[in-house]
């Protein structure tokens, strides 16, 4: 065990959230909850990235009074990456939700196991 776990408590929280989201995605039977789990997982990753960009005692990277020294601002790279990532996760969420609606219209259930059982019955 390394010595930085307490200093990195924010990242530790992000990792725990990642685990919760992951388990929701794996274990929940309800599709909507699965999708919420996916969202939690994604935001946890973004939280991790945002923690990486933070530097104590510095402010957001918006230039004020033409001060452009490195000591004044936090790292802008993670923010940019997270912005891109948020768009991706919204798109995936919308796609998954529309898939859910179509599945419900066809099989009248949100449970993936029930759906696959019905498909097996259909085949026979």
């Amino acid at each position: 065990m390394g010595g930085n776990l307490l200093a990195n408590y924010g990242e530790a929280v992000a990792m725990i959230l990642f685990g919760i989201g992951f388990s929701n995605l794996l274990l929940q039977k309800n599709l909507i909850k699965k999708i919420i789990g996916l969202n939690i997982m994604d935001t946890a990753t973004y939280l991790f990235l945002a923690e990486k960009g933070y530097i104590a005692g510095r402010v957001a990277p918006i230039v004020v009074d033409n001060v452009t020294s490195v000591e004044a601002y936090i790292n802008p790279v993670p923010s940019g990456l997270v912005l891109t990532g948020i768009v991706v996760s919204v798109s995936v969420t919308a796609l998954m939700l529309s898939l859910t609606i179509r599945l419900y219209r066809k099989y009248h259930t949100l449970d993936m196991d029930e759906i696959s059982t019905m498909l097996k019955k259909e085949e026979e």
Binding site: F22, D42, F48, K52, T84, V92, M96, R102
Partner: protein, 505 residues
Amino acid sequence: MEFIRNFPFFSILLSLGSGVLTSIMNKKTARLWNTFILAAITVMSAVLFVYMLEVGEPYTFMMGHFPAPWGNEIRAGVLEAGMALFFCLIMLFSLKGGQEHIDAEVEETKVNLYYIMINLLLSSLLALIYTNDLFTAYVFVEINTISACGLIMITQSGRTIEAATRYMIMASLGSGLLLLGLCILYDITGHLLMSSIKQSILYVYAQGTYNIPLIASIGMVVVGLAIKSALYPFHTWLPDAYGYSTVSSAAILSSLVSKGYIFLLIKIFFRVVGFDIIVDSKIVNILFVFGLFGMIMGSVNAILEHDIRRMIAFSSVAQIGYIYMGLGLGTTMGIVASIFHILSHASTKSLLFVAGVGLTDASGGSKKFEDLTGSGFRNPAAGIAFTIGACSMVGIPLFSGFISKMLFAEAAVQNSLAKMLPTMICLAISTVLNAIYFMKTVIRLYTPASKKVRKTQAGEAAAVSMREHPLYHLALLCMVILNVLLGCCSQPIVDWITSGLSMFG
């Protein structure tokens, strides 16, 4: 700078832009435009490939006004150009081969949306091949995933939508792990550009401070990409997705989409982490074990299947196992064999899917084995093509599958005993299993149907003549030629892959 060097950039942006353009077109224009764009990109890739073979040196291309560690970059070498050419060709053939089915199975007003998916899929594959930046790779992996999902569910039956949902769940698990791995990698190196990451990883690895995060992040990236490319225990969505979607989608998905991820993985091995560190970290051994499992279990599942499309789909699982086994051998020879298998599998699988749909059409649209009896006589071209594909999969000389199996065996012999023995045994078992299910199918195709069956089918399935479907037969012919070419002229291709890999480093 010579003008040809712009071609990778042009082909990515052209396919992106044509995706946007297609959104306002009607069905016919969209189809024409898509064919035109695909042909143009194929020609560009071919020219680039020839040029790169002459020059023999990779080059980088700035995407924007800012040089390496600050701006985006793409990079082209011999291997990249060849892969792009090959992917374009396969996509063109499988689209043309399944054209009639697209027209029949996709809703009239949604055909142009299908071509948007194809265009964006092509652009994302090209970007995955050429990119030199990890985060760009992540974004295009997402485009690839979403468009693949679109391809699966375009026919909108309950089966395909269910398969698409399963696929999306699996794929988002994979991309979550991939993104987290990339974040940790960024954290310990501070770069996103592949070559800069490699330099700082060498430094970090020598220092030894961040070895555990480094190994963990590589592991997450590898597992994420393996989930996305349907390595054995993560394959549950695959049979439904390939078995029930329209035939072009199935061919493109099995031969290109998963291969794009594997190519990215190889790229990460060589250009980001460095092959020595990967071999050192023992991650390859995990891939090796899962690959062996996939080879056997995929074939066993395929034998149990009674549906020709699903059988071919399970065979894909086995072939992906082969590729990961090659990566897991941990030698350059193994990687060369894997890349050759990517090519050979792509050409053979698309051939099998397209030929298979011809056979099922000749049997009244049924995919069951009982109804397929004697369909090789009803649609002779498809029957011959299917037989060739099956021979290639089993590994009969003259066809591409034989060469890739031989390369795998060669790579295994050079390895230590602990890896050589299981590889050889599994290769042998898997070949026998392959032979069982493919030869079973071929024999059934050429068994004359009993009178009873013939009577029931006579009304619906007349013999398919070549004049009625010229495009389909042309596509079949092209794929057969490609396959035989890979099988007969293997030496220059292996040389090309080896030189390309050496340029990767």
